[in-house]
Symmetry: C2
Subunit: 460 residues, 2 copies
């Protein structure tokens, strides 16, 4: 319980106008991008690391839950203050502190919006590849907390691959630094990667050193339709085995194609079992050669039609279908539950077929699309939240999907995180001993269990 | 103290002939590739995970130190049984359990020699890039324990970039699995990367899932000599900023060039301040274009001579100088202390000049070479261990080098680890609070402090 004297103390730390307590303000911080919700008792908006440290120290002293939060775009209930207490919004810490073109790194505060960072580094010919779908609103701090991925993961990796160092406020209020600008670093344990993806349960990230790379100089895309799902999956393996690593390979299944075509009406191949969108990038000559290799391989794999785009306008047109998936879904049903399983690449056709079966068995439309080349699929279950019976079936279908992933050696979450939404399924994925090691680390760093409590781990 | 009854119990676990106790056998496991040494009380050579688990469980029950070890090539004193006890040699666990060409991963036991794995995956057109200099004898388990790097790190990363999952025997003897074959995985804390580079202080790695990549189809190299160190450093930045990421960029400083030329007598440019060796790889067309870009940039940077190699034989000839550094050094002085600082790339010329100054001040030859593109330098101090006064100066020079690295935001170790050799310098690199977080994790996982005790952390 956050008593009035503590509210006053928090106002002393961050200033009166940066402490929110009115019901309508608290409501704004009660949800994320899931359907879950819980009210905090107070929202604190610090501007500096010192203010974060003082706020966390207060929470620790008083044993009050404290939940760090960026833009709240996460899809796992990771930032919902499920036990009340303090929401610590990092959205005022928006400075890009440095874009260092010699060491090719950026140093940023957690509240920097991902697309803003990408735009700023692009002005210097540099590139920050992680591209979660929410990148126009999501923050780097949130991306670090959940280890956000995106379509570019196969070639370019996910958020964790770019985090070289952190400033972290520990649950005690102490401030530590991990890693640094040196590319290689084996001094002590890898705390940086322990904090990345820890969903705000081990500390509050207040500064991030990010590796950047040079902007690829050219790109090109191929769109190919397949009447057989296996042909599409086989093609992906053949491309990779040929030594071509596309920047992106996206798949859309039969129902996704039809849903998008109903929405766009641009004449997508409605009868196809799967559509692949493949983008290569790099130096111009390599792009041209790789596009040729990929198009030929599509032909060998009996894809039809095959479209190749080499200019920016042509690429825009090809990618319109992929970008239209999300808006098209709400025309089918008002709500969706977007899942995020990640499986070994070879299991993709088997898992897609299994999910299509679940769709029939549970009598729910499930569109399947995602990042086929890295095995990360987003089956989206479409439903109406006003219909409680349908909601029950959604719950059952989601459990079926997790089980299907676990059955082929896959994981619960490729890039969305566990949060509240998947914690009850954690033991499907991880053995009890592994979970216990994670819990022991949580206890060692946060003995009072104040940092984002109730997340990741199932109740004992 | 390992009592006779425990020796008998260990024989019961791994078989009589896999428990070594004779003085001459113990001596073989008393050292690594540093000059440090300490005898174990017993050496145990398990063949299976169950045997490892039973051995560790015994050590934990009896509170006896246990030190996991591969080929003992590490350069930090990481595998020296400084408190006696048990050395657990993983060199009998040599199976490559699986090379999965669809998911492009290998599953191996810790005793597999790195070069052996590279050769086996190459037969299937695949590539395991981490290439520590000792790769012909070093084991994957040792590479994971120390997070070994190598010249290919800039483009291809270090060991940790390839470890997707582990089987680990915890200090309690419990066996856990982390990660898996799925490329993206954000389920729970990143335990995989916590164990990688933890130098055997948190558990014993008994199985490793490694990411592989397709073999690059072609490569080519450029050798360029510079009369000014800054020109060489600037060139590296220009190449990277131009969007070309070479597989390798190695630097040799003035003294290294002279030492190698004395040895090889092949007419290296003895007056040059620095020699750069640059290798690019990829598809043939891209390699040709990138070689052209690099050679032109060398010309613009006033390098002379510039040699370009496009065939394998030509490349071999160019790289002979680099590969001859180690053998050439013993002709100067009988002993060497190879350091391993890693600094932000822009600080390279400053740090090289500072180390040359230290060499003069301490009156010791220090050859400087290493992986300039990722900021990882190996200053090798050449000396005679029979001369105690000279050994004192080596110690002082090493401390000077660490301080020089710390002064520019660098780290103590880029790829060799901390072990015994650098633990007293840990607080030069990490603040007390950061070290305390690491210690708290060590205590949480290994409350009896049996796993490779006395390493990484300075005595309190």
């Amino acid at each position: 319980m956050v008593e009035p004297r503590l509210i006053e103390e928090l106002k002393g730390i961050v200033g009166e106008k940066n402490v929110l307590t009115s019901p309508e303000e608290l409501l704004c911080y009660s949800y994320d991008s899931t359907v879950l919700q819980h009210l905090p008792e107070v929202v604190v908006l610090p501007k500096t690391t010192d203010e974060v440290a003082a706020s966390v120290e207060l929470a620790n002293r008083e044993k009050i839950p404290i939940v760090p939060r960026g833009a709240g775009t996460n899809l796992a209930g990771g930032t919902i203050p499920i036990q009340g207490g303090i929401v610590l919004s990092l959205t005022r810490m928006t400075q890009i502190l440095e874009i260092d073109t010699v060491n090719v790194v950026a140093v940023v505060q957690p509240g920097v919006v991902t697309a803003k960072l990408q735009a700023e580094v692009a002005k210097k010919g540099l590139y920050y590849p992680p591209d979660p779908a929410s990148l126009k609103v999501t923050t780097i701090g949130g991306n670090v907390g959940m280890n956000a991925g995106g379509p570019h993961a196969l070639k370019y990796g996910v958020t964790s691959d770019y985090v070289m160092g952190l400033e972290v406020v520990l649950p005690s209020g102490a401030v530590i630094r991990t890693g640094g600008k040196a590319i290689k670093n084996v001094t002590g344990y890898n705390l940086t990667q322990l904090f990345v993806g820890s969903e705000g349960t081990l500390g509050v990230v207040t500064e991030i050193i990010l590796r950047l790379i040079p902007q690829p100089r050219a790109s090109g895309s191929v769109l190919a339709a397949f009447s057989d799902l296996d042909d599409a999956a086989t093609l992906v393996n053949r491309i990779l085995q040929a030594g071509v690593t596309p920047a992106v390979i996206e798949i859309m299944d039969h129902l996704t194609i039809q849903t998008v075509d109903d929405y766009l009406q641009t004449g997508l191949p409605r009868d196809a079992a799967a559509l692949l969108l493949i983008q290569v990038d790099g130096v111009r000559e390599a792009v041209e050669q790789e596009l040729k290799i990929v198009a030929e391989m599509c032909q060998d794999a009996k894809a039809t039609p095959i479209e190749v785009a080499t200019t920016q306008d042509e690429e825009e047109a090809l990618w319109k279908a992929r970008r239209s998936i999300s808006p098209s879904l709400t025309r089918v049903r008002p709500n969706k539950l977007g899942e995020d399983i990640s499986v070994p690449r070879e299991a993709i056709p088997e898992v897609i077929r299994r999910i299509q079966e679940i769709s029939r068995q549970r009598d729910l439309p499930i569109v399947i699309f995602g990042h086929i080349s890295d095995g990360n699929l987003h089956p989206n279950i479409l439903f109406d939240q006003q219909d409680p019976e349908e909601v029950d079936r959604v719950e059952a279908a989601a459990a079926d999907i997790f089980a299907a992933s676990a059955a082929v050696g896959g994981t619960l979450s490729g890039e969305h995180g566990i949060g509240l939404l998947k914690k009850k399924y954690l033991s499907l994925d991880l053995p009890a001993e592994t979970i216990e090691v994670m819990r022991s680390i949580k206890r060692a760093l946060d003995p009072n269990n104040i940092m984002n409590p109730g997340k990741i781990f199932p109740q004992k």
